[in-house]
């Protein structure tokens, strides 16, 4: 099997995992999770230099922080399928006594998670801190983080964005999931984000766009380009254009599935559109 086919199969399987996790407990956030399946697979399977075993300190490896913690289903699926914990544990998503809390936490000791997220707007700051420590430790590895686009409405982000540029945090790649949707509707209707690229550039960031954020090859190529732009005294921002709900036709191009689980029939439809490739958990 070619590497490309394998990764595409993994993306499809991750989409099945997302749908099955949220369906089982009738809660969770499938929309943004589905839209970011390609990004997570690319990150964990192609881009990040990761150690074999998990340690909180993450010395000598690239680190990832999820700022928009509500897309935990895609994060958990990719972590499990990248070997951080047994895939069967996806069965415990959002259940009592589970390590797979509704939003990611370190509290229950789930390997792969280095900070709690869910209350929005905090991930870039944490990522900057981790990036500073990498520099202090003379560790040349990179820090990645993902934020939602609606999340940019939180003010803390702009404190962090100003700091990173002002202090040349150039071992950091912040990706913004530009799907144009948030809970109450489109970002355009809720609170327009304006020119996101122009804003990051005005703050002093090096910005690149991945127009086809649900095309695995395009994501890999774009993120590799982002990697090449690190180390040049500027933080790097990737604007990742995705479709919320991608891969499940009735969930696409709407905010309706931001935080709603499919019923039995909808699950079957969604799974039929994403046939089993690597074995369900």
């Amino acid at each position: 099997m070619s590497d490309s086919k394998h990764l595409q199969d993994l993306v499809t399987q991750v989409r099945r995992d997302i749908l099955r996790q949220v369906h089982k407990v009738n809660s969770g956030h499938p929309g943004g999770s589905l839209g970011c399946a390609e990004f997570f697979v690319a990150l964990y399977q192609k881009l990040m230099d990761r150690n074999d075993s998990f340690s909180m300190d993450g010395k000598g490896e690239d680190l990832f922080f999820l700022s928009n913690g509500h897309i935990s289903p895609v994060f958990y699926s990719v972590l499990a399928r990248s070997g951080y914990f047994p895939v069967e544990e996806l069965n415990t998503f959002r259940l009592l006594d589970s390590r797979l809390q509704g939003h990611p936490t370190t509290h229950e000791g789930l390997p792969g998670i280095r900070v709690a997220s869910g209350s929005l707007g905090q991930g870039i700051s944490v990522a900057i801190g981790a990036a500073q420590t990498k520099k202090l430790n003379n560790d040349s590895h990179l820090i990645y983080t993902l934020c939602g686009d609606g999340e940019l409405q939180e003010g803390q982000n702009w404190e962090a964005i100003m700091y990173a540029a002002g202090n040349g945090i150039d071992n950091l790649i912040v990706t913004i999931d530009l799907n144009g949707q948030q809970i109450d509707g489109s970002t355009e209707n809720v609170l327009p984000l304006g020119n996101v690229k122009g804003k990051f550039e005005a703050f002093g960031w090096d910005v690149l766009e991945i127009k086809k954020g649900n095309d695995l090859d395009a994501v890999i190529e774009g993120m590799q380009e982002a990697k090449e732009r690190t180390g040049k005294n500027k933080p790097v921002c990737v604007l990742l254009h995705t479709v919320m709900g991608h891969g499940v036709d009735f969930m696409m191009h709407t905010h309706a599935w931001h935080g709603k689980a499919p019923n039995d029939e909808q699950l079957e439809t969604g799974l039929a559109q994403n046939p089993e490739t690597m074995g369900d958990y």
């Binding site: 370190t106 869910g118 209350s119 700051s125 500073q132 202090l136 430790n137 003010g155 404190e159 962090a160």
Partner: protein
């Protein structure tokens, strides 16, 4: 009675600064972050000695707390510095999620606590910070009484693995604890033995409690004085041991009586040893502009207020 001598008034924030300077030399993992108040927090010397380990974040406290949480990943021990108000209320959710819930080894160091920062007024005088911080699971809450103890506490919290809130202040207050003390987190310090009333104080009101005990002694009343520098975890055994002897207690703190040391003590007593208690604290109010002495007098936070509370609580026995 034991005699305590003020070796010369000093501000507790300078004790923090001195502790941080010492840590800079002794522990290479200690890093410091400040939100545009380097001089006020007395962090200048650390900054000069270790420019590579000092991070000026600007007027952006939320980012500072998040960065501090991130810096622990890879083994650094971040000390954040700003006023108590901006260290707690302004960044409560950042502390809650990124530091406390995430179990990060961040030391939140807060100066200018309470009304005694003085003339700046209530926008800067937080009286709710102990309550906010002690409610966070896993957070250690420390309020030191003088320069020497603040320096010792600063050194001690670097050795403690876990989030800490260290509270100190702006005014120059009596410096009476030993210069070479070892600071034990969670261990109360019994300053006076006594049989008639227990005075439990935190922060610079410990000195006021010692003065109150002397006044009470002149009236033939034997007052125990306990310095509670660590509000959480609370050394309840030290308090219970004393009240079993005295049968009544006064708590004293520069903080709202809602959520402060007094409430923590009251809960401990209610659970095992119901005891008459009086609260020397602010009474659900904001502060205002004035000199520290004027404000302590107006808000009932001095030795006179402790004496009155002691006489009142003894009468309730």
């Amino acid at each position: 009675m034991k005699k305590y001598t003020d070796s010369g008034k000093k501000d507790t924030r300078s004790g923090f600064g001195a502790g941080l300077t010492a840590l800079g030399k002794s522990n290479e993992n200690v890093v410091a972050l400040c939100a545009d108040l380097t001089g006020s927090l007395k962090m200048d010397e650390f900054k000069e000695n270790h420019p590579d380990r000092f991070f000026q974040v600007g007027i952006a406290e939320a980012n500072m707390i998040g960065m501090a949480a991130g810096m622990t990943i890879g083994g650094k021990i971040p000390f954040t510095g700003t006023f108590a108000n901006f260290s707690t209320g302004r960044v409560y959710d950042q502390i809650r999620q990124s530091v406390a819930y995430s179990g990060k080894n961040v030391k939140i160091c807060a100066s200018h606590a309470g009304v005694t920062l003085g003339e700046d007024g209530a926008t800067h005088q937080i009286l709710e910070d102990i309550g906010l911080m002690k409610m966070l699971p896993g957070m250690t809450v420390i309020n030191t009484c003088d320069y020497n103890q603040t320096k010792a506490a600063t050194l001690a919290i670097a050795e403690h693995d876990g989030p800490v809130y260290l509270r100190f202040g702006r005014p120059k207050v009596a410096n009476f604890t030993p210069e070479d003390q070892t600071f034990e987190i969670g261990k109360a310090v019994q300053l006076q033995e006594g049989n008639d009333v227990t005075l439990v104080a935190t922060g610079h009101l410990v000195w006021e409690a010692l003065q109150a005990a002397e006044t009470l002694n002149e009236q033939g009343i034997s007052a125990a004085v306990i310095n509670i520098h660590t509000i959480k975890p609370l050394d309840s055994e030290a308090i219970l041991k004393s009240v079993r002897k005295t049968g009544c207690i006064v708590t004293a703190e520069e903080h709202n009586f809602l959520g402060g040391l007094g409430e923590s003590v009251a809960r401990e007593l209610a659970e095992s040893t119901p005891t008459p208690q009086e609260f020397v604290a602010t009474k659900d109010t904001f502060g205002e502009s004035g000199t520290p002495e004027q404000l302590m007098e107006k808000y009932g936070l001095n030795a006179d207020a402790i004496v009155k509370a002691a006489l009142k609580v003894i009468a309730r026995k």
